[in-house]
Symmetry: D3
Subunit: 204 residues, 6 copies
């Protein structure tokens, strides 16, 4: 798919690539800041969130007739700038002027082999433009993942997550995401378990 | 891309989809068992691992001239069976007979809208067959991610991670993954940081 | 009580014994998997559970006129196979075929001095046969401990533990365990504290 | 073994028993204080320690020709007073005058059915008298468990645990505990794993 | 303000000072014991509590017309003895005879430069005497901080914190602390957030 | 000391004050971001840091002949803006334009009784101006606290903290802080313990 396969990365490019993989390890250590505000002691990582968001993006995309692999791919990278910006919570946005994600990504891909750089730039750029069906699905996935996590925290006892549910729900664009959100709110985080124990058939 | 877009999921299908998203939440709570063996008190989640593995898969795929989105997509789902099987550590495999991942996935997609089910079956099946270039890249990504995490844990003080490094390294198939592993071992988890502070240019 | 006291363990046996003690350290790091399913972020260890189960076994045994030391002793070892099998949750049993605990223990005691091996084999074998009064008490202790822990998690906010309470309660065999379960459900995890502050006398 | 089996506990006794089981749950939440001094962020619980100490007591007792069930039984209860006294670290003993453990236990068993109370009093009393072979084995188990945990923490990176190793080693009384300690120090926490992967046979 | 500025500390004094700063690091690792009793898995540190208590002391002092810096200063040191005594929970006070805090501090300042020693002795002595307005404010701050933390834990799901609220409330002495407690109970831990998002103006 | 004592706060002011105390609770939940970069899994809170920084500020101030209460008071508030801005790590400062701390504090005190507002404004303003001796001591305390914590993390195994030590050391201004830093680096985090066990006298 690219002409890149003609040659291996040179030494500096290899260092850049290894550095990128270590840099993204920060997303496994950084926590989602909003949950700390909501009172969660040791919340999910940004990587945790991004993982399920990517899966959700693919599901929404299928239901919406969009390309699920592309939607998932964008979701995978949608918060990767946070290794450099951290996860800035809602309130902090009144006090911090942020750099556009495309420019952060530009810094992150400096020195990488051009095909890798182009791949990341492309995914981030399309996500930030918010126009392709896949970008819309990926953005809905970000919100729906947050809503579902909020329900899970609520079932763990946390009483302050309602604003995260409301805000996420209100931001959804696609009919499929809205239906999934309603269903997630109507049921709960362990409704699937008796079905699974029953072999996937509806419980009687 | 599918004929599915003709209609929204029926009620049972919606319940199945919401259930799937909650089920995958388990991967945010389940820890990677091997690290507990190695002595890590509260290690990364399976979702943490899957997130970076998917990114790595895309990078390896680009370098190998394979399709990065497909490779990342397979990586995303490569451990999703572990909601039902848990992450069985090496030693436990002497004592537990496992079900093939394809069959676990078959149970997981029961009752889902067929396009979603087909998407998951397809990703898992290709990954388990280990034949397409993308599957090979995704499998290497799983190993390389483990190696990189082991280095990170070693830098945090853990002295028992060498077997995880050795095993992961020995399992790599693609030249690109091997080069990245060598580079990751040669440098370390924070080598990228001074470069980043310097705007992406090599430090002097 | 054994003819073993004639001689100290030989070098290989010593290595085996030290290895056993380190191996059981895994039970302090492995978490009880079911609670992760229920939504507990960082639940009790298997060792935590086994400790209280052993105490409970002795209490039930006294009440039932059985040998409390034997019941506690079996409880102590009732999950020791999980260093090799992990704590397989309910759902995973559909997908994993397990090895009988007696055979796992057989591997664990290989190379140990025979009196130690016999002691472990004996405790595990009797527990798994489920016939002696002490084995019945120890098995009830396992369930009652789970129920009590579920109540404690419920008081910490967790709303999904009811199935663990129901299942544990339904599995109890002895009248004493049933009475203790009813009382534990009727009261709560801190009812004892005002009494203790009052010197052990009932509060007025 | 007791005349108690003639009748079920009366209501107040039942409340006392359920209270005891909840009270001992504190040992699953209380951490071993010394490790906090040594720099461990979230160390093992008192229950974690008591579990492995009880197993170790049985092993030492077998090797010493003592009764392993009795030794384990005493170990199980050797720190149960800490629900009321907490785990007082070495330095704090200069500042806090403690109550003898037998008297704490006396308060803990007040209102319990007499056979249960007698069982606990007996175990604690014998442990505190330090004269029977089983008590000596149980006391050595407490120290050896601490030493082994210190080695585990050292392998996790902690550099301040040597005093805990030295003090534990110096306190051991029985030849078997001393041999096990030497072996534990000579090997390490994961030496058993390759042997276990090899089916219990010595690695080549 | 002191004649101390004439000379730098001698070597032993420097060692003492560095030792003091490391010793106080224990307050960042020690947890507040009462919350473990209440069921909180990994509660706040003593340093966490002392920080907000000091801020609260200054606020109460301003409202009461007392010296806020002096009140905050005493609060800062009000639990520093716990590096040596640990945080003894209510129940443990039946079993442990404690040393007066002034005498613990006396040990802590031994070998320090006299001006530093005098500063710590003065703050602790005044706090323990409970007579100056600033000491009364600082003592109220200790209680009010506990009440506010209890409300926060309650909103995180913990159902057993009411006794901590009741006891703290009943112990308050100053009108300002009582008013603040009533207001804290009337509102909740995130009422301030919409106001802050609205720029500090009351929400409409 | 203020004319404020003439009257109690009005309702809106009370709401503002309670809100402030809850808002500062965020500093107990927010972690110090730099340590996450360095690889610490669950690092100290901002409140943890602020507590010890305030103590250190008072010690430095005494040694420097400045007012220790004022220095400690400024330290207490030196990171309170981070409830609104989060703890922005070094790298993020390339991407986020921050608001001056004085302006953040201005928002935080809006609606508070004027004497409280003035107190906070005063402490923050003086700290940010960096000119008074007490402000210099408080700023050194911030750096020295970071250095000491880095040493503690290094002793816990973390191998990536050297840049935090170097940067902190280089930023120190006062002779006393420099001497304390040298001594802290020369000794280590538990050197004080044998002395304390020995009653405060130098060990032999």
């Amino acid at each position: 798919m690219t002409s890149y396969s003609k040659g291996a990365p040179v030494a500096d490019e290899l260092a850049g690539l290894a550095g990128l993989l270590y840099e993204l390890g920060l997303l496994k250590r950084y926590r989602r800041t909003g949950w700390l505000v909501a009172g969660v002691r040791d919340p999910e990582s940004i990587a945790d969130h991004s993982f399920r968001a990517a899966v959700i993006a693919s599901v929404i995309a299928v239901l919406e007739g969009a390309d699920p692999e592309r939607a998932a791919f964008m979701s995978l990278f949608h918060d990767t700038q946070e290794t450099r910006t951290t996860d800035v919570p809602h309130l902090a946005k009144r006090y911090l002027t942020t750099t556009p994600n495309e420019r952060v990504t530009e810094d992150q891909v400096r020195g990488l082999p051009e095909p890798v750089a182009a791949m990341l730039r492309g995914a981030v750029g399309e996500y930030e433009e918010k126009t392709t069906p896949e970008a819309v699905c990926a953005r809905d996935a970000d919100k729906l993942e947050c809503l579902i996590q909020a329900v899970e925290y609520r079932e763990q006892g946390h009483q302050n997550v309602q604003p995260w549910i409301d805000t996420s729900l209100a931001a959804l664009q696609t009919p499929s995401a809205k239906r999934l959100a309603d269903e997630a709110l109507r049921t709960g985080s362990l409704t699937w378990l008796p079905r699974a124990l029953n072999g996937g058939h509806a419980a009687h």
